[in-house]
Subunit: 368 residues, 2 copies
């Protein structure tokens, strides 16, 4: 009797970007199925870029599934963590590609979370001025946010994601099964980016997240599938209109200006990116309220949900001036003015400068 | 009585690349005239990237001319030479941009030769995922080749220009007056790339170069203006058809596969890039002859011209196997096959694999 087929592909989300269009496949057991990888350009060689945590879990099955497509499969295993999202570690990818004689047609596979995806994407953008790459995100955060949309980067000691490129993958494959091995803290960090899509774009989705939070926290596959799908749909809609962040796309950075300051202020890796964004959304919602855009009840509701997702809602005690200094080097800054993504009204976000006094009040009140 | 206006703009060459189109201005005294820089996007700040050799000669007059356009002008002065075309030196540009709080609208000015242009362009491509930049080439080689077309890169210990991006400048400004301070060796190196355009695209231009070589070597302004203009026209025609080197553009690398091996084999900076390309063209012409594409007279004619321009025509004694190993990591390699730009017939070039035995013969005969 034939075995029951794996549930396989549940959803496909298209990213419409002209000749750089691609799709996100969302489903169970995708990673290990050869069929998942069909349709990618044939090349002599592929290189899997992953980290020390993910490699023992998934490299073997990905290699097995890729075998029909590529005659040579290389891999490079990087150390795990945001502290390694730097030039030295990026250069290990170039070293490996050159040592193996990889040419311009070599396909890179980013197997890991946001750090691996950002670094592999940037390496693909730069190696011989551009080689193709595929995102295989293994964290919830990477599946719902960082693997989609083509933002790639490394950190600089003076700022997060300061050196990078807009460079689109050939495909994104979100295998929901891999979320089973995710540490709880990483699951919560991913939920921060899921929650983000509610206040900026879809309050009905926020209602759904509130109702399904217990199911999401116990990793119910149906709930996770919908969370990933809806998040990707919203991201696709935004990125399709503004690939290079000349306007609308900035709304996806709701909570990130405060969040990046937290990450840089504490030292990268102390808080997870999603944790900093969770707390950053509370601060940005507070700022929106002080600007008269949303009411206190909205801020309290969002704060409760973020806390219930297992995320911090108070910033670390860096000192108000330190926060301001760190935020001044944010990429949204223009001619020295601090600019923030704020909630204009529930379900709608925008980028605007904020009076420094209001920002100081938010920081003084919202940080331990 | 009003003073006589400087001769100013002599030629404009358009690079047709859709929304990335730009123009090359060629003329005398352009650098120091504020009018040269009008029409560039207004931004609070600009940063001039230059090197220790060029800075004392031209930074002051460029700053003066840019003053009406930008309220703040920063500069970063890098060490001079191909050995510094690496990540450490590139990172000094990022350090300076971040230390000065430069935002996404900051315009970078690459004031220097090919190394400064390649590094500044790559820094512009990556800083905050892309800021605008302007090429102000100060060597003949940069004016006729490297500043035009958007190829940017740094070297990797295992290969030249292995890490980079296709990223177009806003404008290229070729001030012919700056060629007066160019060392003779650099002038000859630039002539290598000028000569290149003849055999690959325009034999009438080759005739002209032969006739005008004495004038070019004594830096006759009219001869230099035509050499720069015609070179840029041919490059614009090629790049306009194939921006990302998926086909035709490879012909611009005539002589470069051998040349890159020479540069890497001797250590970057030992021979100038143009010197290695000059010698590389002799080797590539020999290969073309052995493939039965051109006759011995053609090879001899080209070799004579390259020698007369003050360039080496015999490769250094690296050993045949070392040459082959170095060429195997060239970006034109595909699935392990060495591929070369050859002269298909005088005035026409193409990319093709070559039997290893023929390549060995060319190297054995053509290298000291």
């Amino acid at each position: 009797m034939p075995s029951v087929p794996p549930p396989g592909l549940l959803h496909e989300v298209a990213i419409p970007l002209g000749d750089r269009s691609y799709r996100i496949d969302i489903g169970s057991g995708l990673l290990a199925q050869p069929g998942t990888w069909s349709g990618l350009p044939r090349a002599a060689a592929a290189m899997i870029v992953t980290n020390e945590t993910v490699a023992p879990l998934y490299v073997a099955s990905l290699r097995e599934a890729l075998r029909p497509q590529f005659s040579v499969l290389h891999q490079v295993v990087l150390p795990d963590g945001e502290t390694f999202k730097d030039w030295q570690t990026l250069n290990r990818i170039f070293d490996a590609l050159l040592a193996k004689g990889c040419d311009r047609k070599t396909v890179l596979f980013a197997l890991g979370g946001g750090v691996i995806g950002d670094m592999t994407g940037f390496a693909a953008a730069c190696y011989m001025r551009g080689v193709p790459f595929v995102q295989v995100p293994t964290t919830l955060l990477a599946q719902v946010d960082s693997s989609v949309g083509g933002k790639t980067a490394i950190n600089h000691p003076l700022g997060k994601n300061m050196v990078g490129a807009f460079y689109q993958p050939l495909r994104v494959v979100c295998d929901l099964d891999v979320l089973a091995t995710l540490p709880s803290r990483e699951l919560s960090a991913g939920l921060a980016e899921v929650i983000k899509y509610g206040p900026i774009a879809d309050m009905a989705f926020l209602d759904w997240i509130e109702a399904q939070l217990p199911a999401l926290l116990r990793r119910d596959p149906v709930a996770l599938a919908h969370a990933v799908r809806r998040s990707c749909e919203i991201k696709a809609w935004v990125v399709g209109q503004d690939e290079r962040e000349s306007g609308l796309r900035a709304i996806l950075n709701f909570g990130h200006t405060f969040g990046h300051a937290i990450e840089a202020g504490l030292g990268y890796g102390e808080w997870l990116h999603g944790e900093a964004v969770g707390c950053g959304m509370v601060l940005a919602a507070n700022l929106s309220q002080r600007l008269g855009l949303v009411d206190v009840a909205f801020v309290e509701r969002l704060t409760r949900l973020i806390a219930a997702a297992g995320l911090p809602v108070r910033g670390p005690a860096l000192g108000v001036q330190r926060y301001l200094d760190l935020m001044r080097s944010d990429k949204k800054t223009e001619a020295g003015d601090l600019r923030f993504v704020v909630i204009e009204s529930p379900g709608h976000a925008g980028l605007r400068p904020a009076p420094q006094q209001l920002v100081r009040e938010v920081l003084a009140q919202g940080c331990a």
